[in-house]
Symmetry: C2
Subunit: 223 residues, 2 copies
Amino acid sequence: MYVTVPSDFDLENAQSCIAHATTALPQTSLKAGAHLFREGDEVERLHQVTSGVLRLTRLLEDGRRQVIAFGYPGDIVGFPSNGRHHTDCDALTDVHLQPYRRAALEDGQGDPLLHKNLLQAALREIGAMQDHFMMLGRKSASEKLASFLLVLSSRCGESVGPYTEIELPMSRSDIADFLGLTTETVSRTFTHFRKNEIIALERSHTVIVLSPEALRAVAQPED
Amino acid sequence: MYVTVPSDFDLENAQSCIAHATTALPQTSLKAGAHLFREGDEVERLHQVTSGVLRLTRLLEDGRRQVIAFGYPGDIVGFPSNGRHHTDCDALTDVHLQPYRRAALEDGQGDPLLHKNLLQAALREIGAMQDHFMMLGRKSASEKLASFLLVLSSRCGESVGPYTEIELPMSRSDIADFLGLTTETVSRTFTHFRKNEIIALERSHTVIVLSPEALRAVAQPED
DNA sequence: CGGGTTCTTGACTATCTTCAACGAAAGTGG
DNA sequence: CCACTTTCGTTGAAGATAGTCAAGAACCCG
Protein backbone atom coordinates (compact mmCIF):
# COMPACT_ATOMS: atom_id res chain seq x y z
CA MET A 1 0.00 0.00 0.00
CA TYR A 2 1.31 3.38 -1.01
CA VAL A 3 -0.22 6.76 -0.55
CA THR A 4 -1.55 7.61 -3.96
CA VAL A 5 -3.57 10.49 -5.20
CA PRO A 6 -7.27 9.98 -4.49
CA SER A 7 -9.35 7.65 -6.62
CA ASP A 8 -6.28 6.00 -7.99
CA PHE A 9 -6.68 2.79 -6.11
CA ASP A 10 -8.87 0.37 -7.94
CA LEU A 11 -10.60 -1.44 -5.11
CA GLU A 12 -12.57 -3.83 -7.25
CA ASN A 13 -9.61 -4.87 -9.23
CA ALA A 14 -6.94 -5.10 -6.60
CA GLN A 15 -8.76 -6.59 -3.67
CA SER A 16 -10.04 -9.54 -5.52
CA CYS A 17 -8.03 -12.62 -5.03
CA ILE A 18 -6.45 -13.56 -8.31
CA ALA A 19 -5.78 -17.17 -7.49
CA HIS A 20 -6.91 -19.63 -10.08
CA ALA A 21 -8.55 -22.68 -8.71
CA THR A 22 -6.66 -25.29 -10.65
CA THR A 23 -3.18 -23.95 -10.05
CA ALA A 24 -3.60 -22.36 -6.66
CA LEU A 25 -1.08 -23.00 -3.93
CA PRO A 26 -2.50 -23.48 -0.44
CA GLN A 27 -2.91 -20.38 1.70
CA THR A 28 -0.23 -19.77 4.32
CA SER A 29 -0.18 -17.72 7.47
CA LEU A 30 2.30 -15.75 9.49
CA LYS A 31 2.34 -14.72 13.14
CA ALA A 32 2.68 -11.05 14.07
CA GLY A 33 6.34 -10.11 14.11
CA ALA A 34 7.45 -13.00 11.94
CA HIS A 35 9.37 -12.20 8.79
CA LEU A 36 8.27 -13.32 5.38
CA PHE A 37 11.52 -12.60 3.53
CA ARG A 38 14.65 -10.54 3.71
CA GLU A 39 16.47 -8.32 1.28
CA GLY A 40 18.70 -10.41 -0.94
CA ASP A 41 16.70 -13.61 -0.54
CA GLU A 42 15.92 -15.42 -3.73
CA VAL A 43 12.29 -14.92 -4.67
CA GLU A 44 10.36 -18.16 -4.75
CA ARG A 45 6.83 -16.93 -4.23
CA LEU A 46 4.80 -13.80 -4.54
CA HIS A 47 2.22 -13.30 -1.83
CA GLN A 48 -1.15 -11.68 -1.86
CA VAL A 49 -2.31 -10.55 1.54
CA THR A 50 -5.65 -12.10 2.44
CA SER A 51 -5.90 -10.73 5.96
CA GLY A 52 -3.59 -8.81 8.27
CA VAL A 53 -0.88 -6.30 7.48
CA LEU A 54 2.71 -6.66 6.25
CA ARG A 55 5.53 -4.16 6.46
CA LEU A 56 8.19 -3.82 3.75
CA THR A 57 11.36 -2.02 4.76
CA ARG A 58 14.76 -1.07 3.48
CA LEU A 59 17.74 -0.15 5.60
CA LEU A 60 20.69 2.17 5.08
CA GLU A 61 24.07 1.10 6.51
CA ASP A 62 23.87 3.80 9.17
CA GLY A 63 20.53 2.57 10.44
CA ARG A 64 18.22 4.97 8.69
CA ARG A 65 15.18 3.11 7.58
CA GLN A 66 12.55 3.57 4.93
CA VAL A 67 9.26 1.74 5.15
CA ILE A 68 8.64 1.04 1.47
CA ALA A 69 5.04 -0.04 1.82
CA PHE A 70 2.46 -1.64 4.04
CA GLY A 71 0.86 -4.75 2.67
CA TYR A 72 -2.90 -4.64 3.20
CA PRO A 73 -5.45 -7.21 2.10
CA GLY A 74 -5.48 -7.34 -1.68
CA ASP A 75 -1.89 -6.14 -1.99
CA ILE A 76 0.70 -8.34 -3.64
CA VAL A 77 4.23 -8.30 -2.29
CA GLY A 78 7.48 -9.91 -3.28
CA PHE A 79 8.07 -8.79 -6.85
CA PRO A 80 11.58 -9.92 -7.70
CA SER A 81 14.28 -7.52 -8.86
CA ASN A 82 16.90 -9.54 -10.69
CA GLY A 83 15.35 -12.58 -9.09
CA ARG A 84 15.84 -11.37 -5.52
CA HIS A 85 13.91 -9.59 -2.84
CA HIS A 86 14.81 -5.98 -2.59
CA THR A 87 13.25 -5.29 0.80
CA ASP A 88 12.72 -6.96 4.13
CA CYS A 89 9.19 -8.00 4.85
CA ASP A 90 7.57 -8.83 8.16
CA ALA A 91 4.12 -9.12 9.64
CA LEU A 92 2.63 -6.35 11.78
CA THR A 93 -0.31 -8.54 12.70
CA ASP A 94 -1.16 -12.16 12.16
CA VAL A 95 -1.40 -12.48 8.41
CA HIS A 96 -2.97 -14.85 5.92
CA LEU A 97 -1.40 -15.09 2.51
CA GLN A 98 -2.17 -16.52 -0.87
CA PRO A 99 1.14 -17.50 -2.41
CA TYR A 100 1.83 -17.62 -6.14
CA ARG A 101 4.76 -19.26 -7.83
CA ARG A 102 7.31 -16.78 -9.10
CA ALA A 103 7.13 -18.64 -12.39
CA ALA A 104 3.48 -17.65 -12.67
CA LEU A 105 4.66 -14.08 -13.02
CA GLU A 106 7.73 -14.65 -15.09
CA ASP A 107 6.60 -17.34 -17.47
CA GLY A 108 3.48 -17.16 -19.51
CA GLN A 109 3.29 -20.93 -19.19
CA GLY A 110 0.94 -22.57 -16.79
CA ASP A 111 -1.88 -20.20 -16.06
CA PRO A 112 -2.08 -17.34 -18.57
CA LEU A 113 -4.78 -15.51 -16.64
CA LEU A 114 -2.78 -15.58 -13.43
CA HIS A 115 0.28 -14.45 -15.34
CA LYS A 116 -1.63 -11.53 -16.73
CA ASN A 117 -3.09 -10.59 -13.37
CA LEU A 118 0.28 -10.67 -11.65
CA LEU A 119 1.83 -8.60 -14.40
CA GLN A 120 -0.94 -6.03 -14.16
CA ALA A 121 -0.41 -5.91 -10.41
CA ALA A 122 3.28 -5.19 -10.98
CA LEU A 123 2.43 -2.41 -13.41
CA ARG A 124 -0.10 -0.89 -11.03
CA GLU A 125 2.63 -1.04 -8.41
CA ILE A 126 4.85 1.15 -10.58
CA GLY A 127 2.07 3.69 -11.00
CA ALA A 128 1.32 3.76 -7.29
CA MET A 129 4.98 4.20 -6.44
CA GLN A 130 5.21 7.16 -8.79
CA ASP A 131 2.49 8.86 -6.78
CA HIS A 132 4.28 8.05 -3.59
CA PHE A 133 7.35 9.93 -4.90
CA MET A 134 5.23 13.05 -4.91
CA MET A 135 4.31 12.40 -1.31
CA LEU A 136 7.84 11.93 -0.15
CA GLY A 137 9.37 14.69 -2.19
CA ARG A 138 6.80 17.42 -2.21
CA LYS A 139 4.37 17.18 0.66
CA SER A 140 4.48 18.68 4.14
CA ALA A 141 4.17 16.64 7.31
CA SER A 142 0.47 17.46 7.70
CA GLU A 143 -0.26 16.69 4.08
CA LYS A 144 1.57 13.39 4.36
CA LEU A 145 -0.20 12.24 7.47
CA ALA A 146 -3.60 13.41 6.25
CA SER A 147 -3.11 11.59 2.96
CA PHE A 148 -2.00 8.51 4.81
CA LEU A 149 -5.07 8.51 7.05
CA LEU A 150 -7.37 9.03 4.07
CA VAL A 151 -5.95 6.05 2.26
CA LEU A 152 -6.22 3.89 5.35
CA SER A 153 -9.71 5.15 5.95
CA SER A 154 -10.83 4.07 2.51
CA ARG A 155 -8.98 0.78 2.62
CA CYS A 156 -9.70 -0.40 6.11
CA GLY A 157 -11.92 2.15 7.81
CA GLU A 158 -14.84 0.80 9.85
CA SER A 159 -18.00 2.79 10.31
CA VAL A 160 -18.72 3.48 13.96
CA GLY A 161 -21.87 5.50 14.24
CA PRO A 162 -21.45 8.55 12.04
CA TYR A 163 -17.67 8.27 12.01
CA THR A 164 -14.98 6.13 10.44
CA GLU A 165 -12.59 4.33 12.70
CA ILE A 166 -9.11 3.29 11.64
CA GLU A 167 -7.05 0.70 13.44
CA LEU A 168 -3.32 1.32 13.04
CA PRO A 169 -1.32 -1.87 13.33
CA MET A 170 1.97 -0.01 12.87
CA SER A 171 3.95 2.11 15.31
CA ARG A 172 4.53 5.84 15.07
CA SER A 173 8.04 5.18 13.88
CA ASP A 174 6.75 2.89 11.13
CA ILE A 175 4.50 5.71 9.98
CA ALA A 176 7.41 8.14 10.25
CA ASP A 177 9.71 5.93 8.22
CA PHE A 178 6.98 5.44 5.65
CA LEU A 179 6.32 9.16 5.24
CA GLY A 180 9.89 10.38 5.57
CA LEU A 181 9.38 12.02 8.96
CA THR A 182 10.39 11.44 12.58
CA THR A 183 8.23 9.81 15.22
CA GLU A 184 8.06 13.12 17.08
CA THR A 185 6.73 14.93 14.03
CA VAL A 186 4.16 12.21 13.41
CA SER A 187 3.06 12.38 17.01
CA ARG A 188 2.84 16.16 16.98
CA THR A 189 0.85 16.08 13.77
CA PHE A 190 -1.61 13.61 15.29
CA THR A 191 -1.95 15.96 18.23
CA HIS A 192 -2.45 18.87 15.89
CA PHE A 193 -5.26 17.05 14.05
CA ARG A 194 -6.76 16.08 17.37
CA LYS A 195 -6.74 19.64 18.70
CA ASN A 196 -8.39 20.83 15.49
CA GLU A 197 -11.02 18.13 15.91
CA ILE A 198 -10.21 16.57 12.57
CA ILE A 199 -9.63 13.25 14.27
CA ALA A 200 -9.96 11.74 17.71
CA LEU A 201 -7.59 9.19 19.17
CA GLU A 202 -9.39 6.51 21.07
CA ARG A 203 -6.12 4.85 21.83
CA SER A 204 -2.89 5.78 20.13
CA HIS A 205 -3.54 3.05 17.58
CA THR A 206 -7.19 3.76 17.01
CA VAL A 207 -8.05 6.84 15.01
CA ILE A 208 -11.56 8.17 14.60
CA VAL A 209 -12.01 10.43 11.62
CA LEU A 210 -14.30 13.24 12.79
CA SER A 211 -14.08 15.31 9.63
CA PRO A 212 -13.11 13.59 6.40
CA GLU A 213 -13.58 16.91 4.58
CA ALA A 214 -11.06 18.65 6.80
CA LEU A 215 -8.68 15.75 6.35
CA ARG A 216 -9.05 15.99 2.59
CA ALA A 217 -8.53 19.73 2.72
CA VAL A 218 -5.27 19.23 4.59
CA ALA A 219 -4.16 16.42 2.29
CA GLN A 220 -4.57 18.40 -0.91
CA PRO A 221 -4.71 22.14 -0.45
CA GLU A 222 -6.68 23.86 -3.20
CA ASP A 223 -3.64 25.69 -4.45
CA MET B 1 16.91 6.56 -14.15
CA TYR B 2 16.55 6.65 -10.43
CA VAL B 3 19.14 7.22 -7.79
CA THR B 4 19.73 3.78 -6.43
CA VAL B 5 22.20 2.50 -3.91
CA PRO B 6 25.59 1.89 -5.49
CA SER B 7 26.21 -1.18 -7.60
CA ASP B 8 22.54 -1.77 -8.01
CA PHE B 9 22.34 -0.74 -11.62
CA ASP B 10 23.11 -3.58 -13.94
CA LEU B 11 24.81 -1.82 -16.80
CA GLU B 12 25.31 -4.87 -18.96
CA ASN B 13 21.78 -5.96 -18.68
CA ALA B 14 19.89 -2.73 -18.92
CA GLN B 15 21.79 -0.82 -21.54
CA SER B 16 21.56 -3.48 -24.14
CA CYS B 17 18.83 -2.95 -26.63
CA ILE B 18 16.25 -5.67 -26.23
CA ALA B 19 14.70 -5.33 -29.65
CA HIS B 20 14.24 -8.54 -31.50
CA ALA B 21 15.10 -8.39 -35.15
CA THR B 22 12.02 -10.04 -36.55
CA THR B 23 9.43 -8.14 -34.55
CA ALA B 24 11.21 -4.82 -34.12
CA LEU B 25 9.42 -1.58 -34.80
CA PRO B 26 11.44 1.11 -36.54
CA GLN B 27 13.35 3.55 -34.33
CA THR B 28 11.80 6.93 -33.78
CA SER B 29 13.21 10.26 -32.71
CA LEU B 30 12.11 13.29 -30.79
CA LYS B 31 13.34 16.89 -30.78
CA ALA B 32 14.45 18.51 -27.56
CA GLY B 33 11.41 19.91 -25.76
CA ALA B 34 8.92 17.71 -27.58
CA HIS B 35 6.63 15.56 -25.50
CA LEU B 36 6.39 11.83 -25.90
CA PHE B 37 3.21 11.30 -23.92
CA ARG B 38 1.05 12.87 -21.25
CA GLU B 39 -0.51 11.61 -18.07
CA GLY B 40 -3.77 9.89 -18.87
CA ASP B 41 -2.88 9.02 -22.45
CA GLU B 42 -3.58 5.47 -23.46
CA VAL B 43 -0.34 3.53 -23.65
CA GLU B 44 0.35 2.23 -27.14
CA ARG B 45 4.09 1.79 -27.06
CA LEU B 46 6.87 1.42 -24.57
CA HIS B 47 10.07 3.20 -25.48
CA GLN B 48 13.66 2.37 -24.82
CA VAL B 49 15.97 5.35 -24.98
CA THR B 50 18.73 4.82 -27.53
CA SER B 51 20.30 8.25 -27.26
CA GLY B 52 19.42 11.50 -25.50
CA VAL B 53 17.55 12.07 -22.27
CA LEU B 54 13.86 12.03 -21.37
CA ARG B 55 12.14 13.58 -18.38
CA LEU B 56 9.13 12.01 -16.64
CA THR B 57 7.09 14.29 -14.45
CA ARG B 58 3.97 14.37 -12.35
CA LEU B 59 2.08 17.46 -11.30
CA LEU B 60 -0.01 18.36 -8.28
CA GLU B 61 -3.08 20.56 -8.78
CA ASP B 62 -1.35 23.47 -7.06
CA GLY B 63 1.63 23.33 -9.40
CA ARG B 64 4.07 21.41 -7.28
CA ARG B 65 5.97 19.05 -9.49
CA GLN B 66 7.84 15.83 -9.01
CA VAL B 67 10.30 14.65 -11.59
CA ILE B 68 9.72 10.92 -11.41
CA ALA B 69 12.75 9.87 -13.41
CA PHE B 70 15.13 10.82 -16.15
CA GLY B 71 15.24 8.45 -19.10
CA TYR B 72 18.84 7.77 -20.08
CA PRO B 73 20.04 5.46 -22.83
CA GLY B 74 19.07 1.92 -21.97
CA ASP B 75 16.11 3.00 -19.84
CA ILE B 76 12.62 1.91 -20.77
CA VAL B 77 9.76 4.30 -20.20
CA GLY B 78 6.02 4.16 -20.60
CA PHE B 79 4.93 1.23 -18.46
CA PRO B 80 1.15 1.36 -18.40
CA SER B 81 -0.82 1.59 -15.17
CA ASN B 82 -4.32 0.37 -15.89
CA GLY B 83 -3.50 0.83 -19.54
CA ARG B 84 -2.66 4.50 -19.25
CA HIS B 85 0.37 6.69 -18.81
CA HIS B 86 0.78 7.86 -15.28
CA THR B 87 3.29 10.65 -15.94
CA ASP B 88 4.09 13.25 -18.53
CA CYS B 89 7.16 12.60 -20.59
CA ASP B 90 9.19 15.00 -22.68
CA ALA B 91 12.62 15.20 -24.21
CA LEU B 92 15.41 17.19 -22.57
CA THR B 93 17.63 16.71 -25.61
CA ASP B 94 17.10 15.29 -29.05
CA VAL B 95 16.27 11.67 -28.39
CA HIS B 96 16.29 8.43 -30.33
CA LEU B 97 13.91 5.73 -29.23
CA GLN B 98 13.29 2.09 -29.84
CA PRO B 99 9.54 1.54 -29.51
CA TYR B 100 7.93 -1.71 -28.44
CA ARG B 101 4.31 -2.63 -28.78
CA ARG B 102 2.45 -2.53 -25.50
CA ALA B 103 1.18 -5.98 -26.38
CA ALA B 104 4.76 -7.24 -26.32
CA LEU B 105 4.76 -6.55 -22.59
CA GLU B 106 1.22 -7.57 -21.81
CA ASP B 107 0.79 -10.62 -23.98
CA GLY B 108 3.17 -13.51 -24.06
CA GLN B 109 2.20 -13.96 -27.68
CA GLY B 110 4.43 -12.72 -30.43
CA ASP B 111 7.95 -12.54 -29.16
CA PRO B 112 8.41 -14.45 -25.90
CA LEU B 113 11.96 -13.22 -25.37
CA LEU B 114 10.94 -9.60 -25.79
CA HIS B 115 8.03 -10.17 -23.46
CA LYS B 116 10.36 -11.57 -20.86
CA ASN B 117 12.85 -8.74 -21.24
CA LEU B 118 10.19 -6.07 -20.91
CA LEU B 119 8.75 -7.78 -17.87
CA GLN B 120 12.17 -7.99 -16.25
CA ALA B 121 12.69 -4.31 -17.00
CA ALA B 122 9.42 -3.51 -15.24
CA LEU B 123 10.47 -5.56 -12.23
CA ARG B 124 13.89 -3.89 -12.08
CA GLU B 125 12.02 -0.61 -12.22
CA ILE B 126 10.16 -1.52 -9.05
CA GLY B 127 13.40 -2.34 -7.27
CA ALA B 128 15.06 0.88 -8.40
CA MET B 129 12.07 2.93 -7.28
CA GLN B 130 12.22 1.34 -3.86
CA ASP B 131 15.75 2.64 -3.47
CA HIS B 132 14.68 6.04 -4.64
CA PHE B 133 12.16 6.15 -1.77
CA MET B 134 15.08 6.04 0.61
CA MET B 135 16.63 8.99 -1.19
CA LEU B 136 13.53 11.11 -1.06
CA GLY B 137 12.51 10.19 2.43
CA ARG B 138 15.71 9.86 4.33
CA LYS B 139 18.59 11.71 2.74
CA SER B 140 19.86 15.25 3.24
CA ALA B 141 20.29 17.74 0.41
CA SER B 142 24.02 17.05 0.13
CA GLU B 143 23.52 13.32 0.20
CA LYS B 144 20.86 13.57 -2.48
CA LEU B 145 22.90 15.67 -4.85
CA ALA B 146 26.08 13.65 -4.29
CA SER B 147 24.20 10.41 -4.97
CA PHE B 148 22.66 11.93 -8.06
CA LEU B 149 26.02 13.03 -9.45
CA LEU B 150 27.54 9.63 -8.73
CA VAL B 151 24.82 7.85 -10.65
CA LEU B 152 25.16 10.23 -13.58
CA SER B 153 28.91 9.89 -13.45
CA SER B 154 28.71 6.13 -13.80
CA ARG B 155 25.99 6.25 -16.43
CA CYS B 156 27.17 9.05 -18.67
CA GLY B 157 30.44 10.35 -17.30
CA GLU B 158 33.18 11.04 -19.84
CA SER B 159 36.84 10.79 -18.92
CA VAL B 160 38.63 14.09 -19.46
CA GLY B 161 42.24 13.68 -18.46
CA PRO B 162 42.25 12.35 -14.91
CA TYR B 163 38.72 13.52 -14.21
CA THR B 164 35.19 12.55 -15.08
CA GLU B 165 32.99 15.08 -16.78
CA ILE B 166 29.20 15.04 -16.56
CA GLU B 167 26.94 16.89 -18.93
CA LEU B 168 23.64 17.85 -17.31
CA PRO B 169 20.84 18.20 -19.82
CA MET B 170 18.34 19.15 -17.12
CA SER B 171 17.83 22.44 -15.33
CA ARG B 172 18.44 23.09 -11.65
CA SER B 173 14.73 23.00 -11.05
CA ASP B 174 14.48 19.60 -12.77
CA ILE B 175 17.14 18.34 -10.40
CA ALA B 176 15.34 19.97 -7.48
CA ASP B 177 12.02 18.42 -8.42
CA PHE B 178 13.71 15.06 -8.85
CA LEU B 179 15.40 15.14 -5.45
CA GLY B 180 12.61 16.82 -3.52
CA LEU B 181 14.45 20.11 -2.98
CA THR B 182 14.25 23.69 -4.24
CA THR B 183 16.38 25.15 -7.02
CA GLU B 184 18.07 27.39 -4.50
CA THR B 185 19.10 24.48 -2.34
CA VAL B 186 20.41 22.60 -5.35
CA SER B 187 22.37 25.62 -6.45
CA ARG B 188 23.78 26.20 -2.99
CA THR B 189 24.78 22.57 -2.70
CA PHE B 190 26.59 22.75 -6.03
CA THR B 191 28.42 25.80 -4.73
CA HIS B 192 29.23 23.99 -1.53
CA PHE B 193 30.73 21.05 -3.44
CA ARG B 194 32.65 23.47 -5.62
CA LYS B 195 34.11 25.33 -2.65
CA ASN B 196 35.18 22.04 -1.11
CA GLU B 197 36.82 21.08 -4.40
CA ILE B 198 34.72 17.97 -4.75
CA ILE B 199 33.55 19.13 -8.15
CA ALA B 200 34.24 21.94 -10.57
CA LEU B 201 31.62 23.61 -12.75
CA GLU B 202 32.89 24.32 -16.21
CA ARG B 203 29.56 25.77 -17.11
CA SER B 204 26.46 25.40 -15.00
CA HIS B 205 25.52 22.31 -17.00
CA THR B 206 28.97 20.74 -17.11
CA VAL B 207 30.23 19.15 -13.91
CA ILE B 208 33.77 17.88 -13.46
CA VAL B 209 34.14 15.38 -10.66
CA LEU B 210 37.41 16.25 -8.94
CA SER B 211 37.10 13.77 -6.11
CA PRO B 212 34.82 10.78 -6.58
CA GLU B 213 35.88 9.53 -3.13
CA ALA B 214 34.71 12.72 -1.46
CA LEU B 215 31.49 12.54 -3.43
CA ARG B 216 30.94 8.97 -2.29
CA ALA B 217 31.72 9.95 1.29
CA VAL B 218 29.05 12.65 1.14
CA ALA B 219 26.55 10.35 -0.57
CA GLN B 220 26.74 7.62 2.03
CA PRO B 221 28.16 8.68 5.36
CA GLU B 222 29.90 5.86 7.22
CA ASP B 223 27.42 5.84 10.02
C1' DC C 1 2.24 -4.91 39.64
C1' DG C 2 6.74 -3.75 37.72
C1' DG C 3 9.71 -2.84 33.77
C1' DG C 4 10.37 -1.78 29.29
C1' DT C 5 8.76 0.08 25.23
C1' DT C 6 6.13 3.48 22.81
C1' DC C 7 3.96 7.85 22.61
C1' DT C 8 3.69 12.58 23.70
C1' DT C 9 5.35 17.03 24.83
C1' DG C 10 8.75 20.79 25.46
C1' DA C 11 12.72 23.54 24.38
C1' DC C 12 16.10 24.28 21.21
C1' DT C 13 18.47 23.80 16.79
C1' DA C 14 19.40 22.92 12.02
C1' DT C 15 18.24 22.42 7.58
C1' DC C 16 15.84 23.77 4.06
C1' DT C 17 12.53 27.08 2.09
C1' DT C 18 10.98 31.57 0.91
C1' DC C 19 11.48 36.02 -0.77
C1' DA C 20 14.25 39.06 -3.13
C1' DA C 21 17.85 40.82 -5.96
C1' DC C 22 21.27 40.43 -9.32
C1' DG C 23 24.14 38.53 -13.07
C1' DA C 24 24.68 35.30 -16.73
C1' DA C 25 22.94 32.83 -20.44
C1' DA C 26 19.89 32.00 -24.01
C1' DG C 27 16.17 33.07 -27.10
C1' DT C 28 13.83 36.75 -30.25
C1' DG C 29 13.21 40.02 -33.65
C1' DG C 30 14.70 43.99 -35.97
C1' DC D 1 24.72 40.74 -35.63
C1' DC D 2 23.22 43.34 -31.89
C1' DA D 3 19.91 45.07 -28.62
C1' DC D 4 16.15 43.54 -26.04
C1' DT D 5 13.67 40.40 -23.29
C1' DT D 6 13.15 36.41 -20.75
C1' DT D 7 14.63 32.61 -18.43
C1' DC D 8 17.93 30.42 -15.45
C1' DG D 9 21.35 30.24 -11.94
C1' DT D 10 23.53 32.16 -7.93
C1' DT D 11 23.63 34.47 -3.64
C1' DG D 12 21.90 36.75 0.63
C1' DA D 13 18.89 37.47 4.53
C1' DA D 14 15.04 36.00 7.10
C1' DG D 15 11.77 32.67 8.39
C1' DA D 16 9.48 28.17 8.90
C1' DT D 17 9.18 23.47 9.07
C1' DA D 18 10.83 19.56 10.73
C1' DG D 19 14.67 17.41 13.43
C1' DT D 20 17.24 16.60 17.82
C1' DC D 21 17.65 15.97 22.55
C1' DA D 22 15.48 15.17 26.71
C1' DA D 23 11.96 14.03 30.02
C1' DG D 24 7.63 12.48 31.52
C1' DA D 25 3.20 9.88 30.56
C1' DA D 26 0.77 6.08 28.75
C1' DC D 27 0.64 1.64 27.31
C1' DC D 28 1.73 -3.25 26.99
C1' DC D 29 3.43 -7.67 28.47
C1' DG D 30 4.87 -10.96 31.34
